[in-house]
Symmetry: C2
Subunit: 443 residues, 2 copies
Amino acid sequence: MERILIGDLHDHIDKEVSVAGYVDVRRDHGKLVFLDIRDRSGTVQAVALPNHAEAVEVAQALRPEYVVRVTANVNKRPEKMVNADQANGDIELELLSVTVLAEAAELPFEKEADLNLDTALDNRPFTLRSPRNQAIFKVQSEIVRAYREALLAEGFTEFQAPKIVGGDAEGGAEVFRLEYFKDRWAYLATSPQLYKQIMVGVYERVFTTGNVFRAEKHSTSRHLNEISMLDAEMGFVDSQYDVMDVFTKVLRHIVQHVGETCADELKLMGATLPNTPIEFPHVTLRDAQKLILEKTGRDNTEEPDLTPEDERWLCEYAAEELGSDFLYVTGFPVSKRPFYTMEDPDNPGYAKCFDLLFRGVEISSGNQRVHDYATLTEKMKDKGLEPENFSFYLQAFKYGMPPHGGWGLGLERLTEKMLGLDNVKEASLFPREINRIDTLLTQ
Amino acid sequence: MERILIGDLHDHIDKEVSVAGYVDVRRDHGKLVFLDIRDRSGTVQAVALPNHAEAVEVAQALRPEYVVRVTANVNKRPEKMVNADQANGDIELELLSVTVLAEAAELPFEKEADLNLDTALDNRPFTLRSPRNQAIFKVQSEIVRAYREALLAEGFTEFQAPKIVGGDAEGGAEVFRLEYFKDRWAYLATSPQLYKQIMVGVYERVFTTGNVFRAEKHSTSRHLNEISMLDAEMGFVDSQYDVMDVFTKVLRHIVQHVGETCADELKLMGATLPNTPIEFPHVTLRDAQKLILEKTGRDNTEEPDLTPEDERWLCEYAAEELGSDFLYVTGFPVSKRPFYTMEDPDNPGYAKCFDLLFRGVEISSGNQRVHDYATLTEKMKDKGLEPENFSFYLQAFKYGMPPHGGWGLGLERLTEKMLGLDNVKEASLFPREINRIDTLLTQ
């Protein structure tokens, strides 16, 4: 008999069906056994009645996470038994037969248990099945889907960026190295930056999603050593504001799409959708620092960056005073930005760049890039980099590159803040960190 | 003035517009200068006429790959000047002003030049701009898009798989290792296999696209050391045939989508869309070998795998006799398959598996997996693997796993064969191989 998904049972009331899924809960009432069965489409209550003795016998031996295939009649529940709050609260499966497809050991703890993070991660293949984790990563998958949809609608072309690279692109030290062939070292890309710039020369507007790797020796609630980045790059921009305009559209589409596709998940997480005005507010670093001084007395007006406290304060300010959960901060000192960042000719010493703040943290950086070959090689030298090591990348500029800019958006951090999680590791299915690759790394 | 895309110029006939793009070709006729200008949406001919002396002067200094912004009148061409074969063959831009946004050095060779592969790859940031390469990677991006669309429509959930792993999952030697923290080695994933199986326990049907890494010391037209894999895994299957049914739908959607979105690119490449009957033919390894013996006299009937020659012959046979460019081969010896492969109880010694052949080569492998915890640990031991090293993965099976199966599909090889390329490296934007990471690796 063909399997019917639990989410489609309403089309089969008063009929016999075959259903397959996990035993979510078993409630034993002597001669009656109640089961909640779940599949990818939902959950339904089933009951083994004394007139189906064989089904009762099998059902009595079941435990949570057993995998079963059942045949059953789909019955309407009597009026007084209807649970209007549940998706299948008005129906019940009357079990005719139960087949065990896989057994499950006794669970180490309840699936909904509130565990400390290390225990949760030690048991990730099991704990991912909790409604909470199912919700987190459903939302994450819809964020990625919406990200791509929005960029395709804006004329962007997707491309596949390599992860093995010949050198550390940005001259930072925090890069993993690996044994390549011929006794050579290669490196894991910290970003697809150079490749997406090259691709602007090919398709003008491009995006890529994939993992990047950062060998940062921190173990905090904000750090991961492997993250998923949502990157994009676009040609023919006049300034970073053109980039921000497209980015804002993309983020608004993500929020709208998550609202439309993940209502149940947001409810379960107690999360509220961000406010996303048609234009996100933006402020320069210096104006932001002046505002902070004026409103809080905290004087960071000479600092080259925002402190975490500043970021939180600005986000609260934007949410309360400007009606936006997103805030762009522009005009950081160019000396603190990578070599490919364009300096603002109207504001020497400062960059044509932005950070995007969301609910207290920076989730993205972007800027207009240097597109002139001679300037770019000079900027490399200024940062102590050897242009010869970048000869491949520089070809794109040698043969004509339009003014362009783009952003990188951290998927885990966006997911974390969208859902109000406490730790970015909760937003990574299999977080990599200094002490853990799946299991804890012991010495 | 707002930039108008070249593909939209027909909406602006007899109007003044601003256009930005690359100089594709310059043809200098003394006091007249003709340019082909291209942007992401198309190409158009532009002319600098003597009555716009300044435009002529700038235009005369242009070379291919210069980046320009122009203002121009959009004129209908006189009847006899219409080129009906070209997208904008009926219009012409009359240049009013030309601004150079970026210069380009003299090109090392014509963009359309037929280069040997090493030269093409040495100059990849430039050679990717050729119409041929633009076509290849446009098709590739549409393949990935269609792959995801098809799986989302079948109830699959996307997930992000880690690339840094703690050990080599399948016990093979051809894996890259990297320096992790605490003087530990970590490894680059050769496949998301174990993670997608874990995710079947969470969402039942899952897919992931991303890079995998294989430290194979070969440099052939079939090898890459970093490839993009299109993976999927699904629960509640009765056999590999259930997996193949979904996979066939996905491949048919890809072919249809590429046909709809890439007609120009296919034409330029001289590629024909594959034949995709509603059901792809399938044959067991042993029956295939018998057929080959019968038809060609080549006796490989005792071999555990198909030879490359067998694969080519079978593909020709399927195309000519069965009207399909795709062919599944099932029933390989289980001893040659990874530990997680399910043995066929009706055909001991053989696996519930398939290879998918397409235009002469295998582009995908799949199978039904072992889902029973005790059997799986036994299979590991049979292959000389330590179940303790897989304790994380095994949790998924300890707590109940449905019968399941899936596939991995190599994006580059599919792209290569879809377009009739000679070498898989042509289907990788930035191919990684034993001798090359962007530039050639010299000793």
